[in-house]
Subunit: 422 residues, 2 copies
């Protein structure tokens, strides 16, 4: 199996100012090609560290992908190191990338300065894959069996800006595919929500032990996605692998039922969106402690406007009463963090917008306990249609952000089950 | 300066299923101690890769922090590798961690199974720092000058779950501080919003060239935070460093004015929250294309309920009209993506909630153009008080998620300037 190393460059990564999302993005793309990522390394904007990481990477892998350090400012040194590493002694200006640079900056109303123009200059021994989304081009350096690395390998230099990486990845993977022959890898990720990792592991232990030897299972817990079960087969015959996968997943479905919400690595928000579209139904949201996050999850799905009408974030009690119509007696009698309030909020937003379904959240994300002494990490979730209302209490004791994420995911999962049972 | 390597373990990282946030979190903590992170490495759940990364790390650094692979399932192998690496031949059960395990699982209504109990077993030659937030303890392995690494060094094994890392970091850094003596590092991060990186670089080029030689500047662009300027001094006298920093920042303030929104690495939402609290004012939000994200940013700040009343996400036109009171004539005459609609939405939510200030967003996040053929990546932002209303058009052509982030950040920055000019 072909091996790859991913190297991300940037002082800002090493001092923890930015989270490296490029590595996981690139890795998923390489995996889809059937490559195995042997490691990921982050180094600073420093010649020696970059040089040795890339040298070691090319010695031990067929592909090295390096991102970062290609910007227009003083601390961007990658290009010089690559020239040294590949033995280039001269730079040439790439016309395609220069044209893109001018166009991008003009669209932002900015002149092309000298420091921007220099981004179009590349070592003379590389191939350029123009980057349409940004100013730094993708550069490909190829080495043969006779190189000092002793085997055929290639280095791909990509910009460090995440959405530019996403945009350039299809071209990079296509180049890898044509330059090297790739065996496919078969992944299926089963999404579950509602069971803790260890309880899930026990429930499916027999099934896990009976998996074919070439199939590998990994548990991937995630605060918003739940526990993902990733099945993988490396190499082998594609048709046979698909059959093995389908058979294993079919047996798993029999054990886990609707704890599984997707068999295709999908998200809860996509799953809910698809259900609503299939049934031609609409949805609105009334949220309090989740503060907009639940609505934001739903609207992160392109095309959400086909089924999502909108929401009210009723952070203040006054907004719960005056906009959602939650009766004073409920707030006085049961408090805002209650089954009754969750029901009233869901029914209120449904009436206000005329949606088919509505979901509400009211709780305490923390830090600090509620006014009645209730501990943080508690939410009441309300779901309603024209015909019925359900409320569920969910407890999850974490920090504020994790609680908000978990409350929102639970709301999506409960809404999913409510719609399925309708 | 003391050196550290951060090693994150997990197949899920290498195949790109999860983004490694632990490395940046740990790095920030080590930086605050005055340590230099020389690299970050991610490896799979595989003995050879883990062993060699940690061995190499300890050879070249004083501190190695390794996360992951300590869970209760079959693919968690870190502990065995650490026993091998440190020369331990026997495991002992740690009572403190076992008590924590029982307590955590009981609170979730789960029994302590054998696989959970085993998480409290550790190699007999390590020190345990109990992990109060999760089931896997933090283990500390110490090596002296006479060890095969040739210098005094230590390895800290932390759980892989991000919020547990956050919880355990203070104990880990305290242990590092007492075990090794640390010189301080001085960082100041100046937050700017509204200018592109290269234009900013040109505006401050003279100031940058005149910085004291021991001061280092890095540009850190971020879609939500803007362009951050990080000034750093490593080592030296603390008082003198503080003076140098203050003086440099003071001169920068003279050049950039209110393009700077924070001189303390703060966020736009924190900055806006602080302003509102200082003035005793309240805020509400009406958002359309940002879908809840703007509200979610504001409520991610603990204590936001002191000034934030809530929001309406008016995704459907009907909700803009019926809940926010946007007149039909405006929608028919100017469309929903217009200055007039943004103004009406802001004024509508302000009236509805009775807040002092209100901000609105209406635009096209993409993908795909608007019904009138307007290209995606355009938003009208409205800000109003009882006395005046302003609208601003912002153009930013990226993917949906980036556009939503940028629209929301722009709304926060414009609101900030509106409040400051009140």
């Amino acid at each position: 199996m072909m091996r790859a190393l991913i190297c991300t460059i940037g002082d800002e990564i090493l001092i923890g100012q930015v989270v490296d999302t490029n590595s996981s993005n690139i890795s998923r793309a390489l995996n889809a090609l059937g490559m195995r990522v042997t490691g990921m390394v982050s180094v600073g904007d420093e010649r020696e560290a970059i040089y040795s990481a890339l040298e070691r990477g090319l010695a031990g892998n067929e592909v090295v992908i390096v991102t970062g350090g290609l910007g227009p400012t003083k601390d961007d040194i990658t290009k010089g190191v690559l020239a040294e590493l590949s033995g280039s002694s001269r730079f040439v200006e790439n016309d395609s990338q220069l044209a893109i640079i001018r166009k991008i900056l003009a669209a932002r109303g900015i002149d092309t300065l000298e420091r921007n123009r220099l981004q179009a200059s590349v070592p003379d021994n590389c191939e350029v894959i123009p980057n349409r989304l940004g100013t730094a081009p993708v550069m490909v350096f190829r080495f043969g069996e006779d190189s000092r690395f002793g085997h055929k390998c290639a280095l791909y230099s990509m910009p460090g800006v995440p959405f530019e990486v996403t945009g350039a990845l299809p071209d990079v993977t296509e180049d890898i595919r044509t330059h090297f022959g790739m065996a496919e890898i078969c992944h299926r990720t089963i999404m579950t929500y509602g069971m803790a990792e260890s309880a899930l592991a026990d429930r499916i232990a027999e099934w896990e032990d009976s998996l074919p030897p070439q199939m590998h299972l990994a548990y991937l817990p995630d605060p918003i996605k739940g526990v993902r079960l990733r099945l993988s087969i490396y190499g082998g015959d594609r048709t046979r692998n698909t059959l093995l996968m389908d058979e294993s997943i079919s047996r798993l479905r029999g054990i886990l039922g609707d704890t599984i919400y997707s068999e295709d690595d999908d998200t809860l928000q996509n799953t809910v969106g698809r259900l609503l579209k299939e049934k031609g139904r609409t949805l609105s949201v009334a949220e309090s402690c989740t503060g907009g996050f639940l609505s934001s999850l739903l609207t992160s799905v392109p095309g959400a406007s086909e089924y999502y009408l909108g929401s009210v974030t009723s952070y203040a009690v006054s907004v719960k009463k005056e906009v959602l119509g939650v009766p004073e007696e409920i707030i006085a009698g049961h408090g805002v963090v209650s089954s009754e309030c969750a029901a009233a909020m869901a029914e209120g937003i449904r009436r206000l917008t005329g949606s088919d379904y509505a979901v509400s959240t009211t709780g305490l994300a923390g830090p600090g306990n509620g006014p009645d002494g209730q501990p943080a990490g508690l939410v009441w979730i309300g779901i309603c249609s024209a015909k019925r209302t359900e409320t569920v209490k969910v407890v999850f004791r974490n920090d504020r952000i994790r609680n908000i994420e978990r409350f929102s995911a639970s709301a999506l999962d409960l809404l999913r089950k409510f719609i399925l049972s309708d």
